[in-house]
């Protein structure tokens, strides 16, 4: 079935070619001379991250350098993507600790549940995002690396507005 063809008879001010070109050139020239560019020169200027930014994990440590983790197993349980591997152990004093604690940052979705669930405030997410690596293996952070991380930890709520989520 043939459709209806509408031929729009535009007024000259709209169908004009030269005027449109001149106008376009004027616009591009205006932008050309306009020095204010919104570009952020990334490696030189960095983002101001918010205090609740959820990034690379960080393990809190005691004063003597031991990880605060007591190997309770809550974080691997709550982790929705199973990115935390924890093998708990017990030392001669009967204190539990994490013999193996690995987080696959590649798999992590940075939900922050591990930080919320941790009873001893050992595992935290951090205000940090530059964690590019040359191999996938390097993305699996072991306990030593998690303890070494020294970026600020993620605030779970806004200190100025504690009642909000």
């Amino acid at each position: 079935m043939p459709g209806e063809v509408r031929i729009v008879d535009r007024p000259e001010s709209e169908s004009s070619y030269i005027r449109a070109i001149s106008k376009g050139l004027g616009i591009t020239f205006k932008h050309f001379m306009h020095a204010d560019k919104p570009t952020q020169q990334y490696p030189d200027e960095k983002w101001e991250l918010g205090p609740r930014w959820r990034g690379t994990h960080r393990m809190a440590v005691h004063e003597d350098g031991r990880a605060k983790c007591v190997g309770c197993g809550l974080c691997p349980t709550v982790c929705p993507v199973n990115c935390i591997k924890l093998i708990p152990a017990e030392d001669e004093n009967g204190e539990r600790y994490a013999a193996v604690y690995e987080i696959d940052e590649f798999r992590c979705i940075f939900c922050g549940f591990c930080q919320e669930v941790c009873p001893v405030e050992a595992i935290h997410l951090g205000v940090h995002y530059e964690n590019a690596e040359y191999s996938r293996e390097r993305w699996v952070y072991d306990l030593a690396r998690l303890c070494e991380n020294d970026h600020p930890v993620t605030a779970l709520w806004d200190p100025a507005d504690p009642s909000s989520e």
Partner: protein
């Protein structure tokens, strides 16, 4: 001062060739960088700025990348022509540069050195002959790749370039009528004013032949295959166009060829319409060599340098202008492109050539001496013609779609409705 002869001539020519070629290469390298910068600035971006100071070494990085990439020749390609095509794309623009006068003559202890690689007596015809070779690179690349996309791109390119070749050549006819000579240095000196020797017009041809300049500008754009005439390459329809199958430095040659063409076109328009290396409002640089070898004016080395700078600035102006056009205007549809070339430009140019011939003849017959008065009269006529032409072109009907033009659609009652319906 006598022109250099013998060994000095050979040495001077070789030196000029090398120096001018290096200048051209540098210009090409810089214009690829400039294109990206200009595009960036227009879109409120910074453009390349990571490699080297202000990103100037980006050019080197790009070149290195081109050379290091894998070079693929399709198994079904016609090898000989496949390799020849990129060379042919680069060649015409490069050799065209040889007949362009870049500056005033340079006096040396061995004699006068003209700032032109080859001062051929048929410079203008050489330009037209070589410029028309550019289409071979496109056709050959399209055909020898043995790919439908390349083939379509090559076909489009050849049709477009041949169509606008006519416009290009015809837009230069009025220049010839006015200058009465085909030598490029003479064309330059005809746009300057002198106290002695044969009379000249004393103003840049862009004024007395304004419409001609406009036609050359547009045809030049079409010849360089740049937006809004970049139909040979259309990502949406025919992938990359004629260079779809090319990779590595062979593709790089097509890419560079575009910028060679850009600079050469800018330089040619400068010579024909912006007085070549002439510095405006200053008579000190007006130097010319008559056919019998006498030099009018006072050539010095610093004048040569200044005129070189002036010429570079004019060429750069056109290069930047072309870039502005590229990043402003959307491309034509193919039928519009052909319509503009065949139905608008060629008839308009024919009429224009006839009008200019009549005007020049009438002025001659009326006894107006060649000089400022003569060109001022032509300038007046051109302003009127330009206004009329732009008025007609501006109505938008000339490059409208085929449906809207005919207003009859088979099987459907012709309907003309206004926007408000």
């Amino acid at each position: 001062m006598e022109a250099v002869t013998g060994t000095a001539f050979v040495v001077a020519t070789i030196l000029k060739t090398i120096v001018f070629f290096i200048i051209l290469l540098l210009g090409v390298a810089l214009s690829t960088y400039m294109e990206r910068k200009v595009a960036g600035f227009m879109q409120d971006r910074s453009g390349p700025n990571r490699v080297g100071p202000l990103g100037l070494l980006q050019v080197m990085a790009d070149g290195l990348k081109f050379i290091l990439k894998e070079e693929v020749t399709p198994g079904t390609a016609h090898k000989k022509f496949f390799i020849l095509a990129p060379a042919l794309a680069l060649f015409p623009a490069t050799v065209l540069f040889g007949v362009i006068p870049l500056g005033s003559p340079l006096p040396t202890p061995w004699g006068r050195v003209d700032m032109i690689v080859a001062d051929v007596p048929i410079g203008f015809l050489y330009v037209l002959a070589i410029a028309s070779l550019a289409v071979y690179g496109v056709v050959m690349a399209g055909w020898s790749s043995n790919s439908k996309y390349s083939f379509l791109g090559g076909l489009r390119g050849s049709a477009q370039m041949i169509s606008y070749e006519i416009g290009l050549a015809m837009s230069l006819v009025p220049v010839l009528m006015l200058a009465g000579n085909v030598e490029m240095p003479v064309l330059v000196s005809m746009q300057q004013s002198f106290s002695a020797g044969p009379a000249t017009y004393g103003m840049w041809f862009v004024l007395p032949l304004m419409l001609s300049g406009f036609f050359l500008l547009v045809s030049g754009l079409a010849e360089t295959n740049r937006v809004p005439f970049d139909l040979p390459e259309a990502e949406a329809e025919i992938v990359g166009g004629y260079h779809t199958e090319y990779s590595s430095m062979k593709f790089g040659m097509f890419f560079l060829g575009e910028y060679f063409h850009l600079i050469t076109t800018g330089a040619l328009i400068s010579v024909f319409f912006l007085g070549g290396w002439d510095i405006p409002f200053w008579q000190g640089d007006n130097i010319r060599v008559l056919a019998d070898g006498t030099v009018i004016g006072d050539p010095t080395w610093w004048k040569t340098l200044l005129t070189l700078v002036a010429f570079t600035m004019k060429t750069t102006f056109f290069v930047v202008f072309f870039m502005f056009i590229r990043w402003t205007i959307p491309r034509f549809r193919y039928d519009q492109l052909m319509d503009l070339g065949w139905k608008v430009f060629i008839p308009a140019l024919m009429a224009y050539i006839m009008l200019m011939a009549i005007a020049i003849f009438a002025l001659d017959t009326a006894g107006v001496p060649v000089g400022l008065g003569f060109s001022a009269a032509l300038f007046g006529l051109n302003v009127v013609l330009m206004l009329i032409f732009l008025f007609v072109l501006d109505r938008g009907r000339l490059v409208q779609g085929a449906t809207a033009r005919t207003r009859v659609v088979p099987g459907v009652a012709a309907a003309t409705v206004s926007e408000g319906d």
